[in-house]
Structure formats: C-alpha cells, structure tokens
C-alpha cells in the first residue's frame, strides 16, 4: 500500500499532518505519538518576535466544536529556531513552519530568518481570526493575499503553503490570488469566526469576545471549500477542519486534498493522529486501494 504523497516537491511518508497550533512543536505528544510516523509536523504559528497572546479565557466549548482565542502566543523565531528545530530534527518526519505576522515585513522577516534552517516547508497564516492588528486582513482580500504571497515567496528558501480563511464570500478568489502570488500549495480551512455567551454572567466567555471555531462541527464547510479550491487552482491542497477519523481523511482527499491536517482532534485525544492513520490504512486495504494518491479528487 502506497501512502506517501508529494506536496510541492516534498515527499511525505503519508498524508497525515498536524494542524498548526494544535500540536505545539510536538513536545507534548511524544508519549502518545511516534513523531516518526507522521507525514509532516506543522508547528504552532511563530512570529518575528515573541508574542504574549490574548488574555484568558481563550477556549470555549461549543456543540461539536470549540472556539479558541489563543492569539498566537509564541516565543518568537529566534527561540523557535534554537529550541524547536533541533528537537524536531531528531525525528524522521517533515517540518512545516507556520508563520504569523502583523505586517508584510513581519512575515518576510520570519521567512528570511528560516532561509538557512533545516526545515521543509513554510505555511503562511493569513487567516488567523484572533489577532486584531493583521493576519486576517490579508486572508480576506485577494490583492492583499497576492501581495503578501509574492513578498514572502521572494525571500523564501522553502516551498510556500498559503493557509486560507473560510470567512470569505468566495474562497476560490483568494486561492487564485495566492496562486498568482507564487504559492506552492494551499491549506484550508483555518477557523470560522464564532462566539459564545455566558448567559448567567451576561458576558462573552472569551476575553476577545469572538474567536475561531474548529472541530467536527465545521467539517461540512471545510470539505466544500477544499472541493471548490481544488477545482479552481492547479496547486496541491492540504485539507483540514474537523478531522476526527480515518473516514474523514478519506472524505477530504476524495474532495481534492493531496494531504490533510489533524487539528482539534489532537487536543481531545493526544493519540488521535496515530488512530487516524490506522483507520486510513484499514479503509484502503478494505477497499483494495493500493495507492492513496488514486483517490485524490475522485469525487467530481
């Protein structure tokens, strides 16, 4: 059974990636997950400088999902390179660094800093709904999306994934803009903007009022967008949003994803990626599918 997939020239041993922000840099998972078995680890968003993130509460549960307002708390690119890259290099997996920023210059600075680091991919997060000063603005405006993709691509030494926001009228427009800007792959979806109120205290639960909705509740929207984008651009698409089982992985791939990322499921069960990988294998062998690439985009 062939499980390996190729994203922008990088060969993953299987299509299972971790979704940025739900797996840290993998450290908290080593007792549950053999990192060597993952296709690729996508690390928590990292910026040019350390960011404190938002005040708590940052997390709230919703029906079949959760909302987070972490706000990209991160130690900054220098600390990241010093501590997290060497940690991850102990394992035989690919490394994608998710880049956060508040201005084009911020993003470019991180990509530049990573030029000579031994990592495999960059993921440009232009879709985080949890940082006021920027990020999301790039993700909802096609010309901004193209511009920032171009600027980062110019300095980047690794293939560039652009991560798309679902909070838009037409995601294919942004996808094409990123393609025109020179993206090597697209990933989607980031979180949907949502909120929850504490009706007893008569206030929003999250310190930031609203945050990003993820988990199985959003999967139908995510699969729809993956299908739309995969049919609108030539780039490989990385699908995510609510993946809980191997069957969910198959659904995303049939919709057009060349690889997938597991997010919220990691938080609910740290061994989720391993269970999911086993379920994918079981499905393929049950259906006598020899090469997982054969199902990519099979539903039309």
């Amino acid at each position: 059974m062939q499980l390996n997939v190729n994203i922008a020239g990088i060969e993953f041993k299987n299509p299972i990636m971790t979704a940025s922000g739900t797996f840290g840099s993998g450290r908290d998972f080593t007792s549950y997950v053999d990192l060597n078995k993952l296709g690729c680890v996508v690390v928590k968003g990292v910026a040019n400088k350390a960011w404190p993130g938002n005040p708590p509460p940052r997390i709230v549960e919703t029906y079949g999902g959760m909302i987070n307002a972490v706000g990209l708390q991160n130690p900054g690119i220098d600390a990241f390179c010093k501590e997290d890259i060497p940690f991850l290099k102990q394992y035989d997996t690919k490394i994608a660094v998710n880049i956060a920023g508040k201005s084009i210059e911020d993003y470019v600075e991180v990509a530049q800093r990573l030029v000579s680091e031994d990592i495999d991919l960059l993921e440009l997060n232009i879709s985080c709904p949890n940082v006021k000063e920027g990020g999301v603005a790039f993700g909802v405006n096609p010309s901004m999306a193209e511009k920032i993709t171009k600027a980062v691509k110019k300095v980047a030494n690794q293939p560039l994934i652009v991560k798309l926001s679902p909070n838009v009228t037409d995601i294919t427009e942004i996808a094409r803009a990123a393609e025109n800007g020179g993206a090597d792959a697209l990933s989607l979806i980031n979180t949907l903007i949502g909120t929850k109120i504490d009706i007893h205290r008569q206030k929003f639960i999250l310190s930031t009022k609203q945050g990003g909705l993820s988990g199985p509740a959003v999967k139908p929207v995510a699969v729809r967008m993956v299908y739309q984008v995969a049919n609108a651009v030539k780039l490989p698409v990385i699908g995510m949003g609510g993946i809980m089982t191997g069957e969910d992985v198959i659904e995303f791939m049939m919709a057009g994803a060349s690889a997938v990322a597991v997010g919220t499921a990691n938080l609910l069960n740290p061994a989720a990626t391993m269970n999911i990988l086993n379920e994918v294998k079981a499905f393929l062998s049950d259906k006598s599918i020899d090469n997982i690439n054969d199902i990519v985009g099979i539903v039309a």
Partner: protein, 261 residues
C-alpha cells in the same frame, strides 16, 4: 515534567458515584495506573459521553486509595457536563486522562501547614493533608453546606466558615485567617477571589503560599495554550502567560498576577 505525560485517554470503571450534599458528588474510579502516579494537587480530565461536548472537564485528585487502585473525585454540578456525570451509575465507564499537571510540593518542612480550601477547592485538600507531614491547620469555606469536614478532621484541626453563618464562622476563609492570625506555609485552592485574598494575606505576613488555579482548558496536557495565567516576569510587559494545565495548576503565590492586581 514527565509526570503529566504518560497516559492517553483511557476507559475507567465507575465504582460508585454518589451525592454527598446538595449538587456535590463523589465519583470513585478504578484506575490503578493513575492512582499509582498521582500527587495531591494534580487533576484528571473527564470526558463526556454526549459527543456534542468534546472538551475535557478537569477534576482534581481528591483521594488516592493505592491498595484498591481507586481514585476519588469530588465534583460540583456547575453546568451540562458535570450534570451529565451526575447521571452515571456504578458499573458504567468513563473516559479519563491523567494524572495531569504539577501538584503541591509535599516535602516542605514547616512548623505549621496552613491548608485553605474554598468550595470545590476543598477536595484536593484531602489527599494533600494525608501526605503532608507535620502539624496541619485546615480552614475550609463554603457558601452554605459544608462537606468533607469529617474526612479532613483525621489529619488536623479543621475550621469551617460559611458565607451565611449556617455552620462555623460566618464569613470567608481569609477573614478567618486574619481573625485568628494563623501563620504557616499556605496551600490554597478555591475560587479566584479567595485566592486573591490568600495571596494578599501571605504577602502581608510574608508566608510561603502555593495556590492552585483554575482556567478553561482545551486539552489539559499543554498542547493548545488555552489555559494560561499571568506569571510575573522581568520582561517589558512584566508578565508571561504560563499554562495552568502543565506549568500548574499549583503556582507560587509570589509569581501569580491576578488580572485585578
């Protein structure tokens, strides 16, 4: 660090699940591995069966019965998840992960240990008292109905406070500490306003104090950076956010910055 990191979600048998007093339940679980490892002040994640409710409910270790491999948890019905737990019957199972977090340091040598619990911050004090060596003064505060008092009496002098004066001292635990001017190494767990009071009290009389904090959690094991609290730091901002689930839930009172500080 590795004490928080060994066990994934496991299915545990419910030995019993009984009402202690109004809205307060004790659940006893059979989980020898967790019991063997757990320390007072640590917690476990309990997961709901209602699969609309995905996130863990963190509940503190209340008592460890190593002989039987039984974990005692005491929880209050606060919302839909804990209400759901209260309907579970002995013989059924529940998904559990743990032990998680860093508990209290039980090696402290001190003339007097001052144990301060408020409301559902009281349960972790049982195992703590069991393991702490030396003289223990135990002050526990409740809105109205006290519970666990008799179990705590096995380990030291117990003083009860109630908001309505229906039992013990009328007032809160901090008022009681002041009134009796109790001194010692403080171990506290309870609602934030109480912890703020304890922090101020410890500061005023220069006492060591360990506070167990609460925050809404996404994972309970350090992955989501959801459950943070402000910890004093020398950086520009004057603080960094640390994770309650992994760096805590027990912190040194000196370093905790409550948002109204």
């Amino acid at each position: 660090m590795c004490e928080t990191m060994n066990k994934s979600r496991t299915v545990c048998k419910i030995i019993s699940n009984e009402l202690l007093t109004d809205q307060i339940f004790e659940m006893i679980l059979e989980c020898p591995e967790i019991v063997n490892e757990a320390k007072p002040g640590q917690f476990v994640n309990l997961y709901c069966r209602h699969l609309g409710r995905l996130l863990p409910r963190p509940i503190s270790v209340c008592e460890l019965n190593k002989d039987k491999g039984h974990l005692h948890l005491i929880y209050a019905i606060m919302g839909n998840g804990t209400k759901e737990f209260s309907t579970y019957n002995a013989g059924e199972t529940i998904d559990v992960m743990g032990p998680l977090g860093n508990g209290y340091n039980t090696d402290t040598v001190s003339d007097i240990h001052l144990i301060v619990g408020g409301g559902v911050g009281t349960p972790p004090m049982v195992e703590l008292c069991k393991q702490l060596k030396g003289r223990k003064i135990i002050v526990v505060g409740f809105r109205d109905n006290p519970y666990l008092v008799n179990r705590l009496k096995e380990y030291g002098e117990v003083y009860v406070t109630t908001d309505d004066g229906s039992a013990g001292f009328k007032g809160n635990v901090v008022e009681f500490l002041e009134k009796k001017s109790l001194k010692g190494s403080i171990y506290a767990c309870g609602p934030t306003p109480m912890l703020i009071g304890v922090q101020a009290y410890a500061d005023k009389y220069n006492l060591d104090a360990s506070l167990s904090l609460e925050e809404r959690m996404g994972c309970g094991f350090g992955a989501c950076v959801g459950c943070v609290t402000k910890i004093a730091s020398n950086n520009d901002a004057g603080f960094i956010y640390k994770k309650v689930c992994k760096d805590g839930p027990v912190f040194n009172a000196k370093e905790v910055l409550f948002s109204c500080n």
